[in-house]
Each structure stands twice: as C-alpha cells, then as structure tokens.
Amino acid sequence: MSCCAPGAEMALDLVNTGSVLPSSQEIRLASRSLGDDLHQTDLSVPTVHCAGCIQTIETALGKLDRVESARVNLSTKRVSVRWRGDEVPPFVVALGRLGYQAHLFPSEVGDKDRTLSDLIRAVAVAGFAAGNIMLLSVSVWSGAEGATRDLFHWVSALIAIPALAFAGGIFFRSAWNALRHGRMNMDVPIAVGVSLAYAMSLYETINHGDHAYFDASVSLLFFLLIGRTLDHVMRERARTAVKGLSQLAAHGAMVLRSDGARDYLPVGEIEPGMRLLIAAGERIPVDGKIIQGTSDLDCSLASGESTPKNVAPGEAVQAGVLNLTGPLTIEATAAAKDSFLAEMVRLMEAAEGGRAHYRRIADRVSALYAPVVHLTAFATFLGWMAVTGDWHRAITIAIAVLIITCPCALGLAVPIVQVVAARRLFENGIMVKDGSAMERLATIDTAVFDKTGTLTLGQPRLVNASSIDPAMLAVAGDMATHSRHPFSKAIAGFAHPGGQYKFDAVTEHPGFGIEATGAGSTWRLGRRGWAGWRARTGGEGKHGGTVLTKDGFIVATFDFEDALRADAKAAIGQLSHAGVSVEMLSGDTAGACGEVAEMLGVKDFVPCLLPSGKVERIETLAKDGHKVLMVGDGLNDTPALSAAHVSIAPATAADIGRNAADFVFLRESLLAVPLALDVSRKAGHLIRQNIAIAIVYNAVAVPIAILGHATPLLAAIAMSASSVLVIGNALRLHGFGANATLQVIQKVGRSAVSYSA
C-alpha cells in the first residue's frame, strides 16, 4: 500500500471481517448505461488522497476483466469505472483488497456544475474586457485628445458591449427576477448603475465628450463576478464532499415473490406486504415485521443505543437498522415513503422553520445598502438639476455616485473571508456547507451534544484485554474474525490472530455467539448463559457478560466499554473557556449518561430522550434567547440538528444527519468543534471589519462624487483600492489558520504513534 491513506490497513481488516459491501445487483442499479453495452459506475472513495492512490487504483482496476477504464477524481474523491457486459466486474472488492473502502454513489446525468462554468466564463470575458478598456482609458487619462480620444472611446464601447451582454447577464437576470417579485437585492443597483453608465458613456462618445465610464462599468462587473464565483466555489465544494461520503441508506432489497422467484428491487418500489430477504450485513430498507430468522440488529443509527438488539420472529424492525449476524426474512409493513426514515425527514423539515428566518450578513447589509444608494443618486440628480438646471451634468454626476458606491468591496467582503476560512477548516478536516453556517456558528452561546457516537465513538472497546491470557485472547480473536458483531470486531481488533488452533468448523448462532470446533474441543464465544453451559457462575455480568468457553467451561471473560471520542474532554473545556455553556442530550439511560457526563465535566444532561424530545429541549433553549449549536450523529439526532441554530455532525453520522448538519468533521478528534467555532468567530470579525472598510470608503468617496469631483480615474483608483484592501484583510485569517493546522498535525502525529505502539 502507498504512503498515505492512514487507516488503510484497518480498512483491510474491516473488509476481511465483512463490512457492508454493496451487492452486484445494487451496483448495477446505481450504474448508468452509456449505450453500446457500456456502463459507468461512480464510487465514492473517501480515503484517496495522493498521486500514489490514483495510480494504485487506476492500474489495479484497469487490469480487471471487462473494465474499460477507471478514472479517479481527487477533488471529489470519486472513482468512475466504465465496464462492459452483463456481469458487474468485482471492482469494489478489488478496491477493498487495496485498502480503500468504496461506497456507491448514484450517477447523476448532467453531473457537472453548470453555474460554476457559467460564472468562470463570465469572469474570463469580463476580465478580458476590463483589461483592454483600462488600457485604453489610461491613454485617455494621460492626455489623449480629439480624434484619438474618440477612437479610444469607440473601441472601448465595442469591447464593452459583449462583456455587458455576456458577463452582465448574470446580474441583469437576477435583478429582473427580484424586481418582478417585488423584492430588492444587491443586483438591482448594479444592473441600473452599469446600464446607465454605459448609456451615458455612449452618449458622451457620440458627442465627443471628455469622459466616458466604460472602464468603470466593466471592471465593476469583473470584481463582482470574482466575489460571486468565490462564494459559489465554497458552497459547492463542501456540498460535493458531503454528498460523496458513504451512503448508509439501502438502495434496494431482494424481494421473495410468492412463486419463489427472487427479484432485486429499488427501495422506492417496495410495497407493504412484500417479503424481503435481508442477509447479514445488510441494512433493512423499510419498516417491517420479522417472519423468519433470528439475528442481532445494530440500531445505533435509529435509537443511539450502541449495544446490538437481539430479535426473533414477530418483532417489528425499523428502516435503516443494520442486520448483523443472521439472515432474516421480513414482511414490509410500510413503503419507503412511510417508513421510519421518511418520518425522520418530515420531523426534520418541520423543525427547520426556526433556521429559515436567518438572513446572511451580506443580504442584511445589501437590503439597507441598495435603497440608500439609489436615493442618494436620485437626490444628487435632483439637487444638481435644481442648482444648475443642466440635466446632462446632473445625470453624469448621479451616475458617478452610483458607480463610486459600487458595492464591489461589499460584494467581495463576505465571500473572500468565507472562502479563506472554509479552506482553513477543510485543511483541518472540517467541511462547511455554506457561508451562513459560519456566520451562525459565530453567534452561539450554548452547545448541545448527543452522547452515543458523538461524545463517545459508539463502538464498544475491550477494556480488560491486559488481564486476559494472551493465548485465550488469540483464540477469541480467531473466532471473532468470523462475525460482524461489534463485540467481535472489538475483540478481533485487540488480538493478534495467531492461528495456533485449527478450527474444523465455525458457525455463528445469531443472537448468542460463535461456536468453533477443533482438536476435539468445542469453543464458544458469546453470551455467558449460552456459551458456559457447564459453568455454574449464575448471573450475567455488567455488560451482558461475554465469555470464551472451552467445552462449556469459561476460560476468559470480556468487558466492553464505549470509548470516549478523542479529545472530548479538552474540546468541552475549550468550549466553556470560549463562553459557551455545554449540555448533553441522550436517548440512553440516566446512569450511562451520568457516567460520561462526570468523566467529561459536563454539568447539565437530559437522559432518555426521544428524537422529538431533543427538538423540544432545543426549542425551549431557543425560546429563552439562546443560540444553540447541536452536535450529533444518529438518525435520532437529525431533527434536532435541523432545529438548532447551527449543527455539526461527525463523518461517521448517518447520511441524512450529515445532510442536515452545517458542518461535518472527518477526523476522530472532537477538537474540531472548538476549532470551527474559533475560525468562525475570527471570520465573523473580519467580515464586520471588511464591511466597515467598505462603509468608510463610501463615506469618503460619496461626498466627493456628489460634489461633482469624481473623475473616472479617481473612481477607478478608489474602487480598486477598496477591493484590494478587503482582500488583504481577509487573507489575515490565513496566518491564524496555519497555527491551528500545526497543532492538529502534532495531535494526529501523536495519536498515530499511540496506535502503532
């Protein structure tokens, strides 16, 4: 394996112990036909991150039978594979063998980002036009006269036409859209100013006037388009990354027809009454009732409870839970749109109302800004008309006012800071959905954490490994590799499979444990009562009592505990230090919550909450005037994530949860939360500074323009200077981010050491 992909070896283990791989029917369902027997499948591979990875993957997949080509996109962390024939080549398995976990990613037709290419093209055209017109204008300013000046003005006018039509179209359309719906946005003064300036300049040119404003109107567009493109890039980049992470919802299920035929159907076509076959390791696609089979279910996604639930025929199961140990036959009781998952989506949409009222700083400023600009320009026009009675002069000066108040510093002020901040966060493994999320995060005063999966890792860890006989641990480890049960994974992770015992047969008894026979003895790893049938130890241990037995006698006992997420205590300390009060909400019992709360130094916690209870708690806090940050991962946290003022989810969270959250952190450390808060607050500070710069600039420039002293040269210099100042100010965030990155790198380095030790 290559240099990078930390944890790639671990991923290999996961694949060996049977992590959830999409079946070939599922792959076929998600792939798109390119015609001519050619198919394309898009896979999301989050661990790709260097040239080595690209080469390893592309060569390995390219060698597979029937694979036409494989192409890695490093920016979006995706691999698209083109293949021929009816049968799906085993590329997911091949990737797993290389140490890359792949997830299906639904192919979208017209996947490319149209808006971005439109914006970039507009920037290119506006930049080209602005550069050329500026060049000609400089000649005019430095003293070109008579016919030469007129020629230059005419050439400028010609260059400006396509630039305005093409690059300005974005603003004209948006302004027209706003006006038609009786609204006002920042594009209205831009559209009015630019077109008035062009018309006026054309009039001047025709009448051999001294001044023309072609340069101002085009370079205004150029600057504004830069700001808009940056804004778009930032939002889109984070969005594709969030989309690209693993997808947890089932894409479809094997349906058992009454005549015994088996069909693989997409989840949308499953109807109540259908019988579904759910193999071990698959997710249950819709709510249902078990008719055959026993198994353990991982319900952590739905309830937040990390210990697997033992199920038998007759019991109801919810969509989204993971079937761990045995095959099940279930009867669907609801269609996908009526299932538990869909119910969560509805609850989430209902909760989102609170956040919809939030308006971005840029919008709030421009709502004030646009009328003021228009009124000032109009008043200037009336004033000059009243004083001089010269309409030509009055209009010229009014246009100068419109242009000089150009909101380009304002247009750049917010997005440039947010792009720099988002980049800092991205480098520290935090993804931001959009700029308003950072603005909202900067204002919070309360942080609410979910327990399981957020403060803790949501995975049981073996805590008494040191007191177990290493030989017995090795036997248990060998057996555990045959199961997907979280306890088995925990044991397998600790033991170094020795392979001294050659087992003849290993069978898993769903809900009980694993049985292995070899060398005349029967080994069992699992529940105390089942495994130790000859031992008279009686009652079960604290954690359900998992034991290893040889011929019915207990030879080792295993204790599990949910591990705290790395740096959880430090993160909570930093949040309190930053003036944020911390609370914990959980669906778990009061005892379990109290234990974690005490370890972390959290004073307030509310246990035994249903998903709606978490929403209610957050709404109560909001009613008391608090701005709440929600950090959670489970499906049951999703409505709360939407209800909170701003939300953060770990990358291990449910797909739907990541979509609801504003921030997603990719690394294990919970320090991501205070870091995001810190960067957001600094960004908010810089944004306000930038807006202040823009306002001060206007306060100086506008009176000059109103008094009629604004020459095009002055306007252009002032405008550019204000923009450069704003960009320079935004880049100050860079230095701050670099320090934070260093700290995280040191931390990662240290934890890597402790892993290998």
């Binding site: 690209i54 996109n73 490093l74 490319k112 550069g131 050329n132 016919a147 030469t148």
Partner: protein, 51 residues
C-alpha cells in the same frame, strides 16, 4: 495614429485568443479535478484529461 489602427486590433485579437483558449479548456473538463491534476504530474505515464 496609424500604428494604433493595426495595434489595437492585434491586441484585441490576442486577448480574444486567450479568452477562447481558456473557455476551451473549461469546456473540455480540465478544471474538473484540480487537486488530481496537481498530483498526476508525479505519475509517469501518458494521460489524457477525461471529458
């Protein structure tokens, strides 16, 4: 003055050439994977950008 008459069109033509070159690169998908392009330069083989 006369030099301007052909220098300006020449300048505009060169600029337009630049813009159209850029637009072509954009359309042919060369900006789709900037991180990948930065890394691929280290890989020793023939490689064409994908449409």
């Amino acid at each position: 003055m006369t030099t301007l008459l052909y220098l300006i069109p020449v300048a505009l033509f060169l600029g337009a050439l630049g813009v159209s070159g850029f637009v072509w690169a954009l359309r042919s998908g060369q900006y789709e994977d900037l991180d990948g392009a930065a890394e691929r330069i280290l890989i020793d083989r023939d490689d064409k950008p994908e449409r």
